[in-house]
């Protein structure tokens, strides 16, 4: 697995990056799992807000009205009313921080609006100016700040127990304890870790975490914990907190051991590989092996749900002009499925069994976002959507070679809008200082 050696930075300046390169940030509405992701459609260029006036000599905090000039994820380029086409004092703010208010907030809080000193001389009647500029304009809903706060409450709490994939043996799960929760992302510490450093990061909606008892219920391998007694305060995370998977009917035509398919390699998310169903589990789950790379004991088989957007029918790559990674050591190139299936005496998994739903996700090629490096899931990085194939996104990490790119589903909880790290107080990585 490729992983990066990086230095996290606190103050990555998305605003300057976006403006100096004329970039587009993916809108918050593309990310249903983030705060306000389900109600962001209202926020657009032209919406007015009340914001701290930093262009004043007054000693007390005063505010002024500003309009959204450009949006990039949670961040907005704002311009104080009265500056017209003058962009010299434009500034970026995260719209979800407490310093941003709907118009009307100052009056209800007893704070006066004071125009910036640079334009104070421009108008003699500021009341007439504001009436003209604001009548018929849009502002944030009055409950905006409350909604943001409500959206930033997460049900997972420290010391909750979950089952999570064993990062050293992908074929099995282990018990882990929630240690930290940041913006819905969990730092999980494996139960037997002596010093608390054997950890794993994932979002609470990750398909890699499950409630206690999940592995046994579906027949998945599980590393039994030597810890027999729960510490005080520990509790099993309630099952309703976890991602729900689609109900499937396995009684009829269904996946069978040995069937071939194409799958994103969990150890190299840049590659879609020739793969095999190795074991059919309950509730629609499958153990998948990457052809040519499997350990003899199946320790690197990986569990995907049959509705997972990371597995594809035979021929998917060819139809969509994606390079399919042939089995390691397979010499009959270019790889042809027809020949391979015949040589292996295998059959392709039926196309009808795969998830073909394509959400109206809203991503476009070139959009900027913050994305988890899934090979090092504690890292959230500056990234770009470089290709879209139905619901599949090719994510490039800015400043890094294309070989580090990852195929990620459009609904992945590991993708975030510009400004998400700032909102959740996490460090974002600028991946190459030179870039």
């Amino acid at each position: 697995a490729k992983s990066k050696s990086v230095v996290p930075v606190e103050g990555f300046d998305w605003g300057q990056y976006i403006c100096s390169n004329n970039l587009v940030g993916a809108p918050v509405s593309c990310f249903k799992h983030v705060p306000m992701g389900m109600c962001w459609g209202d926020i657009a260029e032209g919406v007015r807000v009340e914001v701290l006036n930093s262009d004043t000599n007054l000693s007390t905090k005063v505010y002024w009205v500003a309009g959204i000039v450009k949006l990039a994820g949670f961040k907005a380029l704002l311009r104080y009313e009265g500056f017209d086409n003058d962009s010299s004092k434009d500034f970026w703010r995260n719209l979800c921080i407490p310093e941003i208010h709907p118009v009307g907030w100052c009056a209800s809080s007893g704070k006066p609006l004071v125009p910036p000193k640079s334009i104070h001389h421009k108008y003699s009647n500021w009341k007439a100016f504001l009436v003209k500029r604001l009548t018929g304009a849009k502002t944030l809903p009055p409950d905006f700040a409350t909604k943001v706060q409500e959206n930033m409450q997460y049900p997972f709490k420290k010391l909750m127990r979950v089952e999570v994939v064993d990062k050293t043996h992908l074929c099995r799960t282990r018990v882990a304890l929630v240690e930290q929760v940041f913006g819905g992302r969990l730092r999980l510490v494996y139960e037997e870790s002596q010093d608390g450093t054997d950890d794993f990061w994932c979002h609470m909606y990750s398909p890699l975490i499950h409630s206690i008892g999940w592995s046994r219920s579906i027949g998945h391998r599980f590393k039994r914990s030597e810890v027999t007694k729960k510490m005080e305060g520990q509790m099993d995370a309630p099952s309703q907190l976890f991602l729900k998977v689609k109900d499937v009917d396995q009684s009829g035509d269904w996946f069978k051991d040995g069937m071939k398919l194409e799958a994103i390699d969990p150890l190299n998310l840049s590659a879609i590989c020739v793969a095999t169903v190795r074991k059919v589990l309950a509730d629609g789950y499958l153990m998948i092996g990457i052809d040519g790379s499997e350990a003899a004991d199946g320790s690197d088989w990986f569990c995907y749900h049959s509705a997972s957007p990371s597995i594809f029918p035979v021929g998917f790559c060819e139809i969509n002009s994606i390079e399919l990674t042939p089995p390691r050591g397979y010499t009959k190139l270019p790889f042809k499925w027809f020949d391979y299936l015949r040589e292996m005496g295998s059959i392709a998994a039926p196309v009808k069994l795969f998830n073909k739903e394509v959400p109206n996700h809203g991503f476009r090629v070139g959009m900027k976002l913050e994305a988890v490096d899934l090979m090092e899931p504690r890292l959230v990085c500056v990234a770009t959507v470089t290709r879209i194939v139905h619901r599949l996104l090719r994510i490039h990490f800015d400043g890094w070679e294309d070989e580090y790119d990852q195929w990620v589903d459009c609904e992945s909880a590991d993708l975030y809008p510009v400004g998400w790290c700032q909102l959740t107080a996490q460090k974002i990585l600028i991946l190459e200082a030179s870039n």
Binding site: S29, M38, C39, W40, G41, D42, R48, P102, V103, G104, C106, A107, S108, G110, K111, P112, L113, V114, W126, K127, L130, V131, L134, T135, G136, A137, K138, T139, L140, P141, P142, D143, K147
Partner: protein, 34 residues
């Protein structure tokens, strides 16, 4: 998009306070209808 998310724009009387005094303007704000 606002309607799809269950919100719609509504006209609101918004109070403005300046150093010269208070007045109101009619603006659009979205309401949560969920």
């Amino acid at each position: 998009a606002a309607e799809a998310s269950g919100r719609k724009w509504e006209q609101k009387q918004v109070q403005i306070k300046t150093l010269e005094g208070e007045f109101s303007v009619t603006m659009w704000a979205s309401d949560d209808k969920k």
